[in-house]
Structures are given as structure tokens and as C-alpha cells.
Symmetry: C2
Subunit: 95 residues, 2 copies
Amino acid sequence: MSDFKDLDPLLHSQLRLAVMSLLMGVQSAEFVYIKEKTGATAGNLSVQIDKLSSAGYIGVSKSFKGKKPVTSCSITKKGIEAFEIYVNSLKSYLK
Amino acid sequence: MSDFKDLDPLLHSQLRLAVMSLLMGVQSAEFVYIKEKTGATAGNLSVQIDKLSSAGYIGVSKSFKGKKPVTSCSITKKGIEAFEIYVNSLKSYLK
DNA sequence: ATTTTAGGTTTATAATATAAACTACTTTAT
DNA sequence: ATAAAGTAGTTTATATTATAAACCTAAAAT
């Protein structure tokens, strides 16, 4: 691609981008909260969180709130950088 | 998706978005020109142009320049609208 | 005349997205 | 106490998408 910058395929996905966008604005967010805000199904969200986590774009920690399992996600430095690069690259498409 | 607007899947593709972005700025463009500007392979470009054309987002006309076949593409009104909606929706992800 | 190049299209394969089905537990109702 | 329903996810199967490789047709070049 000469005129257009490549878009990180990991971020160029509606749901993963929504997750990252959301995490950009907060310290951390729980699975259920992300699910609501994005409108994703649990299965889809679970898969996409795994991918973001495997890439090191987010951190995931599992704990319990009372007796219920809670999955918390937060964006990493690497994730912030990737998001910023993505947004910048995207601009070459929006002229 | 509650907080995030849906992104037209037809436009949320690196190559198709590049093609549309390019066509937004010109009256029409030839296959070979688009191929160069986007860096796409001919096969991939052919497929994606078909999809944009089938959706009515672009018009495609085939003719000859001397003895060589030329495929010309231009964005349609429907395409312009879809592109604008896409860009707008995208903004909900870039906050 | 046969090789190479131009301008594509078609087809096969790899990657992605998504929902449906499942697991493991907890809470509520009977 | 037990069955039914709900919560919080994960795994698996399937449909869709993206992409490159192989192919086609005609024109130039050697």
C-alpha cells in the first residue's frame, strides 16, 4: 500500500476496536461492563479479549467479587501505542 | 452495540476502504491506477471492486484504450453516502 | 513464431468473525 | 433438598472475508 498506511489487523475489527476504545478511557473494565457497552455476545467478546491479550495489547486478571468470577481488563502501554498508530494510519483513509 | 455505532462491513475492509477513499477524491479512476495507489494485488482488487460494485457503491465501466482493456471506476451517490456514514460511525471509536 | 507483458478474472486457501453449545458455579423457587 | 433459572464466562463449529496463486486473453517484443 503506497498511499494508504497499513491498518493493524488486530485493531481493524469492529469489536476489538470498540474494546480498545473503551479501555483507552478507563483504568480497567470488567467483562460484563464491556459486554454491555459494546453489545457483543459473551462468546465473541471472550475470543476477542483473548486475542488482544495474546498480543499484549491488554492485560486480563481474573478474581472473585463475592462468589462470582470477575474478569477485568486494562489496556497496556503497548496497546495504547498500537491504538494511537492505528488511529493515525486510519486518517490516511478519511481524507 | 450500544455505545458504538455499527460499521458497514462492506467499508470496514482495508482495501475496499482505500478504494472508496481514493474514489471520493476523483471523478473516476482506472483499475491500474487504483492498484498502484493502494498497493493491492490485481486479484484482490478485482474481487473487492466487484463487491463494491454489487453493492451499488461504485460504478464500473469497461472500455478500450487503444487496444488495451481499461476498467474505470467511479463512486456513486449511494457510495458517497455510505462512506460518509461509515466515517461518522467510526468517530465513536476514536474518542 | 514463441516469449513476455498487460490487464484483468477465477478459484483455492487461509484467516476472521460470530453464534451456538457447553461448563461451572450461584441464586431462587418449590 | 432439589430442581429450575441465572451469571460469568469458554469452547467449538460454521459462515464470511481476505488474499494470493493460478489462470485467461490479447497485444508487444524478440
